[in-house]
């Protein structure tokens, strides 16, 4: 019974980005329990300084290739907020479609390639190819379809091309919409099979109630693209007040910033969204939740993966409806925006301060740009979902370790790795945004 | 639009299947291959012509035929490893197959050369194409007048076809000189640029054809020396290397003004191209 354990998982695998888990327990007493973020810092916020607000999307998309569309969407939202541009209803619908595909794609990646190997007890998706060949094929097929839809809509999924501040440089023609519809239809049976797979998985039992934070709004739809900041513990806040929610602080062991709101920590992501907005799910997603025995509020972080399955159903459903709607009512091609128009200062720019808040696959994501009168960025701040979650993950680990301390070191390690992976952390993102404020200005 | 696909025959892009029957490592960069067309078919080439070698997956490349049509059943090519095709080719062994298109281009006009003195000048890998003519001349020695061979190389180690070079240099009916840019202690011969060999040659300008094959930089200087010796421009022949893709006078890469190196050349009379800026 190794009541004394020293765990040091370097370069945690199957998460996006680099993180280490450090646990130090002696004689049954937990001395240290950390999730270290060791990703090389990339200084995006610094690099944005002096750049045109119209370039912000292109640059910030490169923060994270996994949720490049979410960064794009939040960036254009913040830029439009700063410039005082209101997107058209058509633009908003197309952006919702893009976000649906992003979340779907990311969830599929996480469910099948990152989480499933643990749950099915193999080392990685590569071993799955042997043991669960069909499953792997399905996963790759689903990912490809999400990508193909994004290709049609914005040129590509990783670092989308056509989605810029103001709208889209290119709008789908009717045959493009028809192609998307066919693709999405083709996804349906694979989605059913995904739910069936989820039914066979069993998750570790562990509960720890925490604060859940996600976008909320008054519309009828499950809020992903816009809204206020909602919390399970407190009142609704305007997105411009995001700093009062995130309250970031640094800790010595991590290059990510930690966040806390009404309690010592809070969680964002699929679980948070479902705990706050479950009622707005479409019937298909609700039925999936019932089938999977998911009844909010859910306090088991491992079930984040189940939440992702439910959201995948929701996103597919929602995306299909958008495409059908466009097929019925047509797309106004006149709304295309011309890129780079502002090279000669043709668009009105102003000194402003804009905030974007979007539900990225891993949770609420904020971008905030302050511009000068020429539309150049003077200050930028980005708060990444994983950065908000890290604190909560450590709290979870601290609660979990004492309970499982009697197990073997390998078992403890696996349990912790699985816990961290359940949050689907995107460490590359969070390390890019270790943010501290201008000390000398 | 629905596309249909058909097989066609007699296309210029078709290749003749061929087999490597002998391989000799000349240096680590240059290998010599003897190739035989399937069914023993003769290539029927003239000295100075080239073939397009095809290796599926690696592409095609124009390679000079370096053997004389008077010798062997097959033909030989000497290949320097530099890119895709040439790298793959170096890895081929005896018995391996490849595809051949050609022979292409206008080679050395042996009919016209007959009865004349020959001054054969090769630099580096230029010896490969010239070797086809040299051996042709050796095999028909009495049809020609005086024959001199001038050879220039980087280093003694980079001399290609060493055994044959020895043979030529030992023949009494051939005058042979070799020079290297950089000598080593064992080198007994000449050191310096190939141009330095020319003044020492006894030339009867009216009866001499000078034939030059070498790297692009070499031509200008050698021609200058030859003209100084009084060799008429119409009796200086050069073989030019150009980027070449098709060998069919279409792809445009090898074009020099209005001539196509692959079809109108690679061997040219100097007087015909001297006014084409960039040719030499």
């Amino acid at each position: 019974m190794p009541e004394t354990v020293k765990i040091n998982v370097e370069y945690l695998t199957r998460v996006e980005g680099h993180g280490n888990i450090v646990v130090d327990a002696q004689n049954g007493k937990l001395l240290q329990c950390l999730l270290e973020i060791v990703e090389a810092p990339r200084f995006f916020e610094g690099m944005l300084r002096g750049r045109s607000i119209f370039e912000a999307q292109h640059i910030t998309s490169r923060i994270c290739g996994i949720c490049a569309c979410a960064h794009t969407l939040v960036s254009v939202q913040a830029a439009e907020d700063a410039l005082g541009i209101t997107p058209t209803p058509q633009t908003i619908k197309l952006r919702e479609l893009l976000l649906d595909m992003e979340i779907l794609d990311s969830h599929i990646l996480h469910i099948y390639l990152l989480a499933a190997p643990d749950l099915l007890g193999v080392g990685s998706f590569k071993s799955l190819i042997g043991t669960h060949h069909k499953t792997v094929r399905r996963a790759l097929r689903m990912k490809k379809i999400c990508n193909d839809v994004c290709d049609i809509l914005v040129g590509r999924h990783v670092h989308p091309i056509a989605c810029i501040a103001g709208g889209f440089t290119k709008l789908p023609a009717e045959k493009d919409l028809a192609a998307m519809q066919t693709l999405l239809k083709g996804l349906q049976s694979d989605m059913d099979a995904t739910v069936d797979l989820a039914l066979t998985l069993s998750f570790p039992e562990f509960e720890r109630a925490t604060e859940y934070v996600a976008l909320v709004n008054d519309g009828p739809d499950y809020p992903l693209l816009s809204g206020d900041i909602g919390s399970s513990d407190g009142p609704r806040m305007d997105k411009h007040d995001y700093r009062r929610v995130t309250n970031e602080f640094t800790v010595p062991h991590s290059s990510a910033k930690f966040a806390r709101f009404n309690r010592e920590s809070y969680a964002v992501g699929a679980l948070a969204r479902l705990n706050l907005n479950f009622d707005k799910l479409k019937p298909a997603a609700k039925m999936t939740a019932t089938a999977l025995g998911f009844k909010p509020p859910v306090h088991n972080p491992y079930l984040n993966t189940v939440g992702q399955v439910i959201e995948s159903v929701q996103c597919l459903d929602h995306a299909t409806r958008i495409v059908e709607d466009f097929l019925e009512h047509g797309i106004d091609q006149a709304e295309r925006v011309l890129v780079g128009l502002n090279e000669k200062g043709t668009l009105p720019v102003r000194a402003g301060n804009g905030v974007g808040a979007v539900e990225a696959p891993r949770g609420i994501l904020f971008h905030n740009y302050e511009t000068d009168a020429h539309g150049a960025i003077v200050k930028a701040n980005c708060v990444i979902p994983t950065a908000q979650n890290v604190n909560n993950i450590e709290q979870d680990m601290a609660a979990l370790v004492p309970v499982i301390l009697h197990k073997s070191e390998a078992e403890i390690t696996l349990a912790l790795e699985m816990l961290v992976r359940a949050y689907d952390p995107c460490i590359s993102c969070s390390a890019h945004f270790l943010k501290v404020y201008l000390q000398n200005q | 639009m629905k596309m249909e696909k058909v097989l066609i025959t007699d296309s210029s892009f078709e290749v003749k299947p061929a087999t490597i029957v002998r391989k000799r490592v000349l240096t680590d960069k240059e290998h010599l291959f003897e190739i035989r067309l399937e069914g023993g078919e003769a290539l029927n080439h003239d000295p100075g012509q080239f073939v397009e070698v095809s290796i599926l997956g690696a592409g095609e490349a124009p390679i000079s035929i370096c053997s004389s049509p008077t010798r062997r059943q097959g033909f030989e090519v000497c290949v320097r490893k530099i890119g895709k095709l040439t790298t793959v080719m170096h890895n081929l062994e005896v018995g391996d197959t490849l595809g051949i298109r050609g022979p292409y281009g206008k080679g050395f006009p042996v009919g016209i050369l007959e009865g004349h003195d020959l001054l054969l000048i090769a630099g580096g890998l230029g010896l490969a194409p010239l070797r086809s003519l040299i051996n042709y001349v050796m095999d028909n020695r009495r049809d020609f007048g005086r024959v001199s061979i001038l050879l220039g190389c980087n280093t003694p180690q980079s001399i290609l076809f060493g055994d044959e070079v020895d043979l030529w240099s030992s023949r009494i009916d051939v005058s042979f000189h070799c020079t290297v840019d950089r000598a080593d202690p064992d080198w007994k011969g000449h050191v310096g640029a190939i141009t330095t060999l020319i003044p020492g040659e006894t030339i009867d300008p009216d009866y001499t054809f000078a034939i030059i094959v070498g790297p692009p930089v070499m031509y200008k200087y050698v021609i200058k020396e030859l003209l100084a010796k009084g060799v008429p421009e119409s009796q200086i022949l050069v073989s030019l290397e150009r980027h070449m893709k098709c060998g069919l006078g279409k792809c445009g890469h090898c074009q020099i003004h209005n001539i196509y190196c692959c079809q109108d050349g690679p061997v040219f009379r100097y007087d015909r191209i001297k006014n084409l800026r960039g040719a030499i």
């Binding site: 091609q333 295309r336 | 639009m1 629905k2 596309m3 249909e4 696909k5 058909v6 097989l7 066609i8 025959t9 007699d10 296309s11 210029s12 892009f13 078709e14 290749v15 299947p17 061929a18 095809s54 290796i55 599926l56 997956g57 690696a58 592409g59 095609e60 320097r80 530099i82 890119g83 197959t97 490849l98 595809g99 790297p215 692009p216 930089v217 290397e241 150009r242 980027h243 893709k245 098709c246 069919l248 006078g249 279409k250 792809c251 445009g252 890469h253 074009q255 020099i256 003004h257 209005n258 800026r277 960039g278």
Partner: protein, 344 residues
């Protein structure tokens, strides 16, 4: 042969009926100044009048990427020469582009023949369309003698007001429209209308540069060292646009594309451009047209001299594409005009 008349309001039926036999490609408008030849389903999708399409119809004779050969090395080094093609009708080809196709026909049937090109050529029906007025200021079709039709089509359309007068030049063209009962035989007033169009064109179309066509060979004969080459060479970005859009450029590269199994694959031909840096570079690194001025000059000489010497025909049709697409605003008309200026 004959002339028939197609009422403009029947263009749609015409296209729909054609389509029943062969796919039809025609100029379509794709946003800002972007005209392309693409497949159409009906007459409404066709953009007429139009300024020359970004790429000329040569893409249907010699596609940008074209499979020449398919192979499988498990079967040895033998290969299958294949042609991918579609029998189709190209509708609405301007006279300059008809001339372009004729130019390509000439070079690519010169020995050794390019069978891939010729195979497709024999399966394409060409329907020309007369320009009653200039497309824009870049054209120099009159100078090059291509503002009026000179063959190269199966059917040729002229807009004579309410209707198109169709000149039937080939039997194949005749057969294509045989069962179209909405076509009427041309009457004498139709022919008069055509003559009226032509005489109006005489007033509109004039030499676009102050040069006579017959003077051109001379200009190039003595213009090799003209400073204009250095001047445009200094402005050129070697983007290759001018050659890629030219209806008479046909330079290409050939390369192998193996499949993922690394055993089978294709040998493909891709358009190449003499303006590209590596075009005339050999394996040892020397480039024979390293200077942009040399490359620009080479392009112009291919249009106005080299091919003329070989095939007795200009390889510029006057379509204006190269000038239209050049971001550095290197203009063919200005270049010819400059060439005429004798330099002290």
């Amino acid at each position: 042969m004959d002339n028939v008349v197609l009422d403009k309001n029947k263009l749609n039926s015409f296209i729909v009926q054609l389509r029943a036999r062969h796919p039809v490609v025609a100029p379509v408008h794709r946003g800002y100044n972007r005209y392309v030849f693409d497949e159409v389903e009906n007459g409404d999708q066709i953009a007429i009048p139009y300024i020359p399409t970004i790429l000329p119809p040569k893409k249907y004779f010699m596609p940008q990427h074209e499979t020449l050969i398919e192979y499988d090395t498990r079967l040895g080094q033998t290969l299958n020469v294949v042609v991918e093609f579609a029998s189709l009708v190209i509708f609405g080809v301007h006279t300059c582009d008809l001339a372009g196709i004729q130019c390509l026909n000439i070079v690519l049937s010169d020995r050794p023949k390019d069978l891939h090109y010729l195979f497709r050529k024999n399966r394409v029906f060409i329907m020309g369309l007369e320009c009653n007025d200039y497309c824009d200021e870049y054209a120099s079709c009159h100078l090059m003698g291509n503002d009026l039709p000179k063959g190269g089509y199966d059917l040729f359309f002229t807009d004579i007001g309410e209707a198109f007068l169709i000149h039937i030049q080939t039997l194949a063209g005749q057969e294509l429209i045989e069962d179209m009962d909405f076509l009427r035989p041309a009457e004498s007033f139709h022919i008069k209308a055509l003559q009226a169009v032509r005489s109006r064109k005489k007033e509109i179309f004039k030499n676009e540069v102050d040069v006579e066509r017959d003077e051109i060979p001379e200009l190039f004969e003595r213009g090799f060292d003209h400073p204009v080459w250095r001047e445009i060479g200094n402005r050129c970005l070697s983007c290759g646009n001018c050659t890629n859009v030219c209806p008479t450029c046909y330079c290409y590269d050939v390369k192998d594309i193996p499949n993922l199994d690394l055993r089978s694959g294709r040998r493909v031909r891709v358009w190449d451009s003499c303006q590209n840096e590596p075009f005339a570079k050999i394996a040892s690194g020397e480039s024979f047209r390293a200077e942009r001025a040399d490359r620009k000059r080479h392009r112009f000489y291919r249009k106005f001299k080299y091919h003329n010497d070989r095939f007795a025909r200009y390889y510029c049709t006057g379509c204006g594409r190269c000038s239209r697409t050049c971001m550095a605003r290197i203009n063919l008309k200005e270049t010819i005009a400059a060439l005429k200026q004798v330099v002290p």
